[in-house]
């Protein structure tokens, strides 16, 4: 007599960790960062912390609009960015600002965006899609870019990033499924920070891990401690090398935590306890990496303070540059809408601008 035909979910994904919370090493990996890269990781993470605080301040001063916070997620962002080549494509969202900057996007472009202006074109040698706001939509783009690289025979790899909440969107599914079928050189990287605004991870999907969703697309998955920069780097590096070698896409879930509010408009006390936050705050990725650097004898006294100082000054200069950028004009908007405007577009543009000018005059009456 048979029965119990239904097989309950069985995928078990142990959390990959190379450096423990207290900074001690727990494992080694072939793909882990070398000394120079470890210092770079630390530098970018410290920069991320300063960047985050400065952006929040700018928002409070009314100098930029609503901004997402990245505190606590610096290891994921830096680890992922440094594992990439500059010619690899970064396809992410507002939660990957630090990764964008570490990948080569000018800080002032990011600030400009949050000032409500045009970001300005990214530099020619930075391969990245715009910072996505519409959740999940970037995942098919990542698949498409990766397919492009494959078709062209280029050895570019694409890293498509999103949050835990984004995994619920149809576009997440369609993007990863496409990537699996076409075996494209892509790495899908989910920053699982526990929350999608106020919705906890457990209410987002009944799947025990996000990593195991990989199997639904016929690709390998990995669950990494997202606060362990060394592990994030190593796992992403492995996935990128695999993709570059033509072995296809993979999905990485980085387990981290959003210590701050979702954005400057959010009040997290409405939906989570301070205790929960405090618990996670203790596992600070910057402190962890610093302790690791110390244990490894790489850390030099005063380094963090130096880097903070440097970051503050870099930020000040970037803010100055961003604030010097003139405001977007209606002309900009029209001219960036069409690459090949038709006669009708030109006339419509003129009519609109004429009416705006006239209103300007009315305003002066």
């Amino acid at each position: 007599m048979q029965g119990n035909f239904l097989r309950p979910p069985q995928a078990e994904f142990p959390v990959i960790r190379l450096v423990a919370e207290d900074g001690t090493r727990v494992a080694r990996a072939e793909t882990e960062p070398d000394r120079a890269t470890l210092l770079e990781l630390f530098r970018w993470m410290v920069f991320g912390r300063v960047f985050d605080q400065r952006m929040i301040n700018l928002q409070r001063q009314g100098r930029i609009g609503t901004i997402g916070t990245i505190r606590g997620q610096e290891a994921s962002a830096a680890g992922l960015a440094l594992a990439m080549r500059r010619s690899d494509w970064l396809v992410g969202s507002y939660r990957e600002l630090l990764a964008y900057i570490a990948h080569g996007v000018p800080i002032e472009a990011v600030i400009s965006l949050y000032r409500g202006g045009v970001p300005g074109p990214f530099p020619e040698d930075v391969a990245a899609m715009p910072i996505q706001i519409v959740i999940g939509t970037q995942m098919p783009h990542a698949a498409g870019i990766a397919l492009g690289a494959k078709l062209r025979g280029a050895d570019d790899v694409v890293v498509g990033c999103c949050g835990d909440g984004a995994t619920s969107e149809g576009d997440f599914h369609e993007g990863l499924n496409f990537a699996g079928v076409h075996k494209v050189p892509a790495v899908f990287f989910v920053q699982n920070n526990g929350w999608a605004i106020s919705v906890p991870r457990a209410r987002q999907t009944a799947s025990e891990t996000i990593a195991q969703k990989a199997w639904a697309y016929g690709m390998p998955g990995a669950l990494v401690d997202g606060n362990d920069a060394v592990a994030v780097y190593a796992v992403v590096k492995e996935a990128i090398e695999r993709a570059r070698a033509g072995e296809g896409p993979s999905l990485i879930e980085a387990l981290t935590y959003r210590v701050g509010p979702h954005t400057t408009s959010d009040d997290p006390r409405r939906y989570r306890t301070d205790d929960e936050v405090e618990l996670h705050e203790k596992d600070d990725p910057i402190a962890r990496l610093r302790r690791f650097l110390e244990t490894e004898g790489i850390y030099e006294e005063g380094l963090q303070e130096l880097l903070e100082e440097e970051a503050r000054s870099v930020m000040s200069q970037a803010i100055e540059r961003a604030e010097a950028v003139p405001d977007v004009t209606p002309e900009d908007v029209f001219d960036l809408t069409w690459a090949a405007p038709t006669e009708a577009v030109r006339r419509d543009r003129e009519r609109t601008l004429r009416e705006l000018r006239e209103v300007g005059e009315v305003g002066k009456e």
Partner: protein, 324 residues
């Protein structure tokens, strides 16, 4: 009671939840968080997690699950967090909700409400400010309501919840809190499908809806001091469109200006201008003017105040209508 628009909307949902146990509220962050604009604040605490609940982050299924709930006989109120994300829900609304009755010969219907804040000048990020009402107005089988005051926000939402047809309910984010007024306590409805005269006048008819109704009233006030008297028609329901009220006003004034912040081309302004010239051709003294967003995507924040029609833009068009 005194209420702003978001409070009026919340009050409508609270009343509906209390009077009909089939009413449920779902969407991203509508539970504990009470919605990113607090429209559902306190409702989960009051009515429980089975009446007011968070969904996964997935707008197609927010509408699609709504269709299923409605087919089963419940009255879902689905929240889509920002109007621009309705692009993702559109297939479930247009190809499914709007046609369930037709496909089942009336046996099932998608009596549901899809609420979303819309509109610009709120300094929101990309795609948070779009006005997509024209897409739904081009979708027979769904009604489209766009309130402009606390009074009609509450009354139309209560009407929409009772309505057996699916209703896309677009809320004017810009004046969610700015406008406070006395509204009746308890249940009342403002019928769907009826425009209202927001201000009487005899020189020019200004047709507006949603947040732009307030802007049109400002413009009317400006112009009144110059001796130009506008009749402001507040559509309230965008689809089905109350042509009669518009035409009655134009019959009186002979001139019309249509206002919206959505993209101009193939927007509601086109429909209304087409309708007026079709039905009131011989009483029209001048072409119907459109005051609208540009034929570009909704721009970056720095340019939005130029994109969204202001009172000066409307006044300009009224003068143009009078000059002709």
């Amino acid at each position: 009671m005194k209420a702003n628009i978001v409070e009026a909307i919340q009050d409508a949902m609270r009343i509906a939840l209390a009077r009909d146990k089939d009413v449920v509220v779902l969407g991203e962050d509508v539970g504990k968080n009470g919605g990113v604009f607090r429209a559902t604040d306190g409702l989960q605490a009051e009515f429980g997690e089975s009446r007011v609940f968070d969904t996964p982050l997935a707008e197609s299924s927010i509408a699609g699950v709504g269709v299923g709930l409605a087919a089963y006989g419940l009255r879902p109120i689905c929240e889509v967090q920002f109007g621009g994300f309705l692009y993702i829900s559109l297939n479930q609304i247009a190809s499914q909700a709007a046609r369930l009755r037709l496909r089942t010969s009336g046996r099932l219907q998608a009596g549901m409400v899809i609420r979303a804040p819309y509109g610009g000048n709120v300094r929101t990020p990309d795609l948070h400010s779009d006005s997509l009402e024209a897409l739904f107005a081009h979708t027979p089988g769904v009604k489209v309501a766009m309130p402009s005051t606390p009074y009609n926000a509450k009354g139309m939402l209560l009407a929409a919840i009772d309505d057996p047809d699916p209703v896309v309910f677009l809320e004017p984010m810009r004046i969610y809190r700015g406008l406070r007024a006395e509204i009746p306590d308890g249940h009342y409805t403002v019928p769907l499908g009826e425009a209202r005269i927001a201000r009487e006048g005899q020189d020019v008819t200004v047709v507006a809806y949603g947040a732009e109704t307030q802007t049109a009233l400002e413009a009317a006030e400006l112009l009144a001091s110059d001796g130009i008297f506008c009749e402001v028609v507040d559509l309230q329901t965008i689809s089905p469109l109350d042509a009669q009220t518009i035409l009655a006003s134009v019959a009186k004034t002979g001139r019309a200006v249509v206002v919206h912040e959505a993209v101009r081309q193939a927007g509601m302004g086109a429909e209304i201008a087409a309708l007026i010239q079709e039905q009131a051709f011989y009483s029209l003294a001048a072409p119907v003017q459109r005051v609208t967003g540009w034929n570009t995507p909704f721009p970056f924040v720095q340019a939005e105040h130029l994109y969204v029609p202001g009172a000066a833009h409307i006044a300009q068009a009224v003068r143009r209508a009078l000059r002709d």
